[in-house]
Amino acid sequence: MKLVNCLALILILGFNKQDSPDNYKTDRGKVRFNSEAQLEIINASSTRLRGVLNPVKRTFAFAVPVSSFEGFNAALQRDHFNENYLESDRFPVATFTGKIIEELSYPPNGALEVRAKGMLTIHGVEQERIIKVSITMIDGIMHVFSRFNVSLKDHDIKVPKVVHEKIASEISIEVQAELKKGI
């Protein structure tokens, strides 16, 4: 498991090391997740999403530290989230890396709806996903927005039966980031 996380970090660092002038980067992207269950609604978010996207090669890598999510309904809930469900001590980072299917013009311009094909790793379990992303260039800044669902089963996230009515089996995720070109 640690290996995977290392690889994820390496990927991101790798991108940075490559330091291609074409890369667009951020380290302050926002991730929000929303669980709507019968008895409870949980919203939490993190502003520590790091990401890089190369529009020439159409590759991307995003990572967010699991423990950076805040906004739970109670401190105990957050503790459970980190210790029991996502086991963030063992799997500190959730990542999504891969390649965009559509051709992108370079330099990218306007507003596009593309599909990002890659490996989504949460709780140490990889799942290949194709996720719709909208990319809008405004004044040289790449605004990235995506909304998608994550199924707990896909990533082996186990929720005890007693809490079933409080946590949804599919969590909806929203990602929002502004990537800037540069080193």
Partner: protein, 972 residues
């Protein structure tokens, strides 16, 4: 309709022969008949790009406007109406659940089920590049191949992608075919790949040129049952992948592939039909060189984008974006023979060396079959001195010389090797003869002419150009006479048959003539053609009465009522494969001798008027039938015995009003869903206009109803169990048919259900019973009331004629008379008034309290005269109460009771008070026990109680204490 070209008979002295060796690179131009099928939509010019035959036999065409379902007669367009949606279809697929999947050029995918056309809409979104193929693996996962985004598979509601990043050879994929254990073969621009629906290991096997694949661009994959694949390539044609050895094999005949890119492959029993990009339609028969067809009857195309076969064996091609239907190899046209002008072909003959001899216009050609490589066609011309002649009959004798019978110029004998030709001049009979047919056996040759039958005996050794035959006319008895003879035929028993004009059919056997005509049941006397089938039956055609079959003892007739298309037949022949081919002006019928069923080849194939000459038909040693027409030769090689001529019957829509309810299981409908409509079809693409239907709704009709419509409505059906059955057939009497049915049930409305009726009956019965009881009670009550009234009247009367009262009254009167005369008169008047009251009121049921008080006060006055102040009455009654009613004389009786039962004296006065209390009246008196009790029957009080009981629910309350007695009576 039978042409009989006439020419004046000519005398010919000698003939000049010209023969021309024709060879070279001209292809001999035999091609399948092809007919364009127009499926028009509102948009007009529609391009057809892909096609599919589903499991039931229905054909589907993917076009620029959506997918069109076509049953041979009716076509239905299925398209998504969303504005902006591009309905251009780029691929079609039918899965095991009978759902049709449609891939679009825009990258979208839709699927068609009984519920209609729906878009496949995974949350990951759909490709942006055209969908080139769709398939499902052995686990049921959906696979999509695209031109530029690799391939996708859909498992557990997640769409995955496999492209070059995952190890796929190339992102341009053309074809998909399922392999074992969920894996899928993919044909790409860079080879053949096998993939798995496993996100960890997506690509498991790859084949390029290096691994034995002849060409990297794999455009078509057709899976076979044993796991092998037919593979269509860009440049090297077709190869076969042998699964057991993982090797690619190209058959010897296809090693050279000059036909270019392969677009589509359709395998049948005899070989492969291949649609190519540049060389039209290619047929690669087993162990034969492939043949390419680009020229069809007046059509030319080089690009065939798709080719499939329907269940009957017809080919369907998409070429130049149009749809073409063809009988394939079964019916071919030969209209282009190099250097030969194909005009009216008068006659044909297959010789013993495999050549077909035919006579276009005034020529004579020996044609050597025809396949991919061109073969020489040898042309011979018989040119008499002045005019050309029409050749109308041919015969090959035992020395392989060809006998040429002409119209008006007798018979010539041709040496096919050298081309030397000699006219038979041995007899003046033959100088100007018009020879319709020649047949021979050994050294005897018979000629059927317009001047009778002629027998020509040739020497044993006939291998010379010059022979001196013996020519004699037959029939010295003049049985045949000088009638026209149209055909002469020698059967397997060496009998000689003559088809005559006017004398029926005549058989010459062992020197004797037997004439068969009306006496044997043969209609008409003009016979045109004779042939024999492999069972020894003799068949012949007549001028207007169709066919006859002679089995040695009986003649049986086959005409239009048996299914024959036309009674005017230009020629017939047995194909020695169990059928008789009968040619008429619109095509030909093929009669299956054992079943009696016909197969029809006519306008649907593309024939218009074919104008076939009399007996311009022959059969070669391979069983192929050649038919001469006015523009071409038709070659028929079908063996249709394996496909029985039965259309496939399908119910395409079962609906209540306009909702679709297609379902395999029985459907139960409510009582108001009783307007049923059914759409049905019979698939027979060869002759869709001949399909007839019969239907019966079991539970409604008692018999089968025939129709040509493909739609039937049943309005206002009664509740019940039904089964809709429909059959389709090609024959009028439905001897061969298939059937489809749909069972359903209409429930009774609630009010007709047994339990409801029962409940209703029980409830009604109960209600009626209760009502009756109420009525009875009411009647009884009235009766009782009447009885009580009478009783009361009686009692009152009895009590009022009480002598004691009178006695006491009189006593009182005496006392008053002595005291006061005036008082006495008043007393008597009051007494009389009292009795008058009784008379007045006793018949009433009820009187007002006011009136009753009046009576009571009169009575009190009378009693007071006797008792003086020892009897006191106090009345406190509200005005309202006075308006209410009570039965008459009740108060008076109660007062009388009080006086009767109590002592009244100065020591014991009697106080009676009458007070009203809302809705009741209370009469109270104090109790003074009497020493002597007057006789009382107690009936008075009881009577009062009874009377009240009959009139009101409110009770009469009697309160009897030690000191007082009170009665509370309700006011009514």
């Amino acid at each position: 309709m039978i042409q009989r070209p006439y020419q004046h008979q000519l005398f010919l002295k000698f003939a000049i022969v010209l023969w021309v060796f024709v060879s070279g690179s001209d292809v001999s131009g035999q091609a399948p008949y092809v007919k364009r099928i127009h499926l028009n939509t509102e948009k007009g010019d529609v391009k057809f790009l892909r096609e599919l035959r589903d499991k039931k036999g229905m054909l589907w065409f993917g076009s620029s406007e959506g997918v069109i379902e076509f049953d041979g007669k009716i076509h239905t367009l299925h398209a998504l109406k969303t504005p902006g949606f591009d309905n251009t279809v780029s691929s079609l697929y039918e899965d095991h659940g009978d759902t049709i999947w449609i891939g679009y050029k825009s990258g979208q995918v839709a699927f068609l089920t009984g519920q209609g056309l729906q878009l496949f809409n995974p949350r990951e979104g759909m490709p942006k590049k055209p969908v080139t193929a769709i398939s499902k693996d052995s686990y049921g996962n959906l696979w999509i191949a695209t031109a530029g985004e690799g391939i996708y598979f859909y498992e557990d509601m997640i769409l995955y992608n496999i492209n070059t990043d995952d190890g796929l050879n190339d992102n341009y994929a053309y074809a998909l075919a399922p392999a074992d254990s969920g894996s899928m073969w993919v044909g790409t621009d860079e080879g053949l790949v096998r993939c798995m629906p496993d996100q960890k290991k997506k690509v498991i096997e790859k084949f390029h040129i290096g691994e034995g694949l002849p060409d990297n661009i794999v455009r078509v994959i057709v899976p076979l049952k044993n796991g092998d694949l037919w593979i269509g390539l860009q440049q090297k044609g077709v190869c076969r992948y042998i699964a057991a050895r993982k090797q690619f094999v190209v058959s010897a005949h296809m090693k050279q592939w000059p036909f270019g890119q392969v677009n589509s492959i359709c395998a049948d029993k005899k070989g492969l039909w291949i649609g190519t990009e540049e060389s039209g339609l290619v047929f690669a028969g087993e162990n034969e060189l492939p043949v390419s067809y680009m020229e069809f009857n007046s059509l030319h195309f080089s690009r065939v984008s798709d080719v499939i076969k329907d269940l009957e064996g017809n080919l369907w091609m998409l070429a130049n974006s149009n749809i073409y239907q063809s009988p394939g190899n079964r019916v071919m046209i030969l209209d282009k023979v190099p250097r030969i002008d194909m005009k009216m072909v008068h006659t044909l003959m297959a010789d013993s060396k495999g050549k077909i001899w035919f006579t276009p216009d005034q020529g004579l050609v020996a044609y050597s079959g025809g396949d991919a490589t061109s073969q020489p066609a040898r042309k011979y011309t018989i040119t008499p001195e002045k005019d050309l002649v029409d050749i109308v009959s041919l015969y090959e004798d035992d020395c392989h010389y060809i006998w040429v019978g002409t119209m008006g110029a007798g018979i010539y004998r041709l040496n096919p090797e050298t081309g030397a030709i000699r006219k038979i001049t041995a007899s003046p009979l033959l100088h100007n003869a018009s020879v319709m047919a020649i047949a021979g056996s050994g050294n005897t040759v018979y000629a059927a002419t317009f001047s009778g039958a002629i027998r020509i005996t040739i020497p044993e050794d006939c291998h010379s150009d010059e022979i001196n035959p013996l020519v004699e006319t037959l029939d010295k008895d003049n049985l045949l006479g000088s009638f026209y003879i149209y055909d002469v035929f020698i059967d397997s028993k060496k009998r000689i048959w003559f088809a005559t004009d006017g004398k029926g059919i005549i058989c010459f056997e062992n020197g004797a003539y037997t004439s068969y005509n009306g006496k044997q049941g043969i209609a008409g006397t003009v016979i045109y053609s004779i042939t024999e089938d492999e069972s020894g039956n003799i068949w012949f055609s007549t001028q207007e009465h169709g066919l006859y079959k002679f089995d040695g003892t009986e003649f049986s007739n086959i005409n239009d009522s048996n299914g024959l298309s036309s009674l005017v037949l230009s020629g017939i022949i047995a194909d020695r494969k169990g059928s008789i081919v009968a040619v008429h002006n619109h095509g030909f019928d093929v009669l299956n001798i054992s079943t009696g069923n016909f197969r029809y080849y006519g306008a649907e194939v593309g024939f218009t008027d074919i104008n076939s000459d009399l007996n311009a038909i022959t059969r070669d040693s391979k069983g192929q039938v050649w038919i001469g027409t006015d523009q071409a030769i038709i070659k028929y090689t079908g063996d249709d015995r394996t496909v029985p001529p039965r259309p496939v019957t399908l119910i395409t829509k079962a609906a209540v009003y306009s909702n679709e309810i297609i379902s395999e299981a029985e459907r139960t409908l409510s009582h108001d869903e009783n307007y049923l409509s059914f759409d049905f079809t019979g698939l027979w693409y060869t002759n869709p206009n001949r399909v007839k239907f019969q239907y019966m709704l079991e539970g409604y009709n008692k018999e089968w109803i025939s129709t040509l419509d493909r739609h039937v409505i049943f309005p206002k059906l009664e509740p019940g169990t039904y089964r809709f059955r429909v059959r389709s057939s090609l024959t009028g009497n439905f001897t061969e048919f298939t059937e489809a049915s749909y069972a359903f049930r209409i429930r009774l409305p609630v009010w007709r259900e047994g339990w409801f009726i029962f409940m209703a009956a029980v409830i009604t019965g109960t209600v009626v019973y209760l009502l009756a009881q109420m009525r009875i009670r009411q009647i009884r009550k009235l009766e009782e009331l009447k009885k009580e009234k009478i009783n009361f009247q009686f009692e009152t009367l009895k009590s009022q004629v009480n002598p004691h009262f009178l006695f006491n009254s009189f006593n009182t009167l005496i006392t008053i008379i002595e005291e006061d005369k005036k008082n006495a008169i008043e007393f008597v008047e009051t007494l009389s008034s009292f009795f008058r009251n009784i008379v007045t009121f006793k018949d009433h049921d009820l009187i007002t309290l006011q009136e009753e008080l009046g009576v009571a006060s009169v009575y009190f006055y009378l009693q007071q005269k006797r008792y003086g102040n020892n009897l006191r009455l106090k009345v406190q009654v509200s005005d309202e109460a006075k308006k209410k009613k009570i039965p008459p004389l009740v108060l008076q009786m109660l007062m009388e009771n009080a006086v009767k039962h109590n002592a009244v004296s100065s020591e014991t006065p009697l106080d009676i008070s009458i007070t009203s209390n809302g809705s009741s009246l209370v009469l109270t008196n104090n109790i003074n026990v009497k020493r002597t009790v007057e006789h009382s029957t107690r009936t008075g009080l009881q009577n009062i109680l009874n009377r009240f009981r009959l009139l009101t629910n409110q009770p009469v309350v009697i309160s009897h204490t030690a000191t007082s007695f009170s009665v509370t009576i309700p006011l009514i």
